[in-house]
Symmetry: C2
């Protein structure tokens, strides 16, 4: 009834590394070390490991588990109760987050994009308040009320028109991409137009544009399945086609990052 690490690992369902780690932190030490330096576990260790894994399932930290099993007078019931409180808090937080995510999805689908303003109201108010508090008077006296108010106004809202224009351009790109893809040549005028419009479209949201960033993004489209799924809605392989078009447009060779 003696086991080496991986034997014990196998019957308990954890990895050998895990057992070595538990040894390292003094959570579960082997019964003995044999002449070759191998860890040898006995029955007692099997029982202990079983306890450990049980508590681990309950998401108790290894440090706390250590106390619970190495010290029986440790008030396990109390520890579990406070642990339960922790879990309850976690769940309450999760509930809030989920509701928030749901709302966000609904608002995005409801065609109210960029209307996160409300959610950030507190944040922005905080910011504006800070501005007023710290610089309000100086700035108002230096630049006049209008500058301040205009700045705050810009801060509160983003341009709806720009957003709409950007969206329209995005849709146009998808249509043109389909045409270009059917034609088949990423160097064609049509495909190069798509690349150019893609750049234009990007610049709506990018604070600074560079060929490198654009090329990197094109590579990311292919690498990240979520982008691939998006552009491949046009047709399978459209994502790579778009990337190739962009790279040609930028006059950049394929990289290997």
């Amino acid at each position: 009834m003696e086991y080496t690490v991986n034997k014990l690992a196998q019957i308990s369902g954890v990895s050998g590394r895990t057992l070595r780690y538990y040894d390292q932190i003094g959570l579960l030490e082997p019964a003995r070390i044999n002449s070759s330096g191998y860890r040898i576990y006995g029955q007692k260790e099997v029982d202990l490991l079983q306890q450990i894994l049980f508590y681990r399932e309950l998401e108790v930290s290894l440090e706390d588990i250590k106390k619970m099993i190495s010290e029986p007078m440790f008030d396990q019931t109390e520890a579990l109760k406070s642990h339960y409180q922790l879990l309850a808090q976690k769940r309450a937080r999760l509930d809030k987050i989920m509701a928030n995510v749901k709302r966000t999805i609904a608002s995005k689908q409801g065609g109210i994009p960029m209307q996160d303003k409300d959610k950030f109201a507190a944040f922005k108010d905080n910011l504006i308040e800070e501005n007023e508090d710290k610089y309000g008077e100086e700035i108002r006296s230096k630049y006049g009320d209008k500058t301040v108010d205009a700045s705050n106004a810009k801060l509160r809202g983003m341009s709806e028109e720009d957003f709409k224009a950007m969206n329209d351009l995005g849709e146009e790109i998808m249509v043109l991409l389909e045409k270009a893809y059917i034609a088949g040549d990423p160097a064609s005028d049509l495909a190069q137009d798509v690349a150019a419009k893609h750049k234009q479209w990007l610049m709506y949201s990018w604070s600074s544009y560079s060929k490198e960033a654009h090329a990197g993004l094109a590579e990311m489209y292919v690498a990240d399945e979520r982008f691939t799924a998006f552009y491949d809605k046009v047709a399978e392989g459209a994502t790579e086609f778009l990337r190739d078009s962009i790279l040609i447009y930028l006059g950049i060779e394929k990289q290997d990052s």
Copy 2:
């Protein structure tokens, strides 16, 4: 309307380190770097940070946030939906764990200690099965059926009597500790008896005993508020008194770990 790191940190409620980190991973770069190497953030960065913090609240990973904000064509709705699925899974798991913790507390309070056997049934069956599978025949033929069965039996349960004896001793210790504490001298015979019994009591559950471990544990009693709360039920300061008694008993000076 320009901010250095800590200014921005202050109005946004995050730390300066966080902003530097976001710069480092390319999530939020400052508008510019001034001649002294200071990071200078502008309005656009404030808006971006606000977006980032919003998604961070939703427990979206920074990597995903990066994609969502650096690439507007990234299908945020889809991303949020799958993120929602993740959260739902997390919550379902939490629910299970909480139910399990609750059951465990109930069973402990119901005076069915160490009756985790049922919960570990699968684990142990797995182990026994392994034993039977791999060694069953050889061992049975070598040592006879009884050895195997006895071993399995021991594996399935721990001694109830030992557990009870240990508990009794634990209670006795508490009573004696109170007396000794009132007397006031950790070097007194009474206090030294408590320490001796504490050692005895420990050995019920410790596979190996050492003075160092015992002393370390005594120090932990004082360091960990949960132990302190437990022993201080006797009287305020009883935990430290117990530690002092044990250290004297062991003939060990106070350490500084």
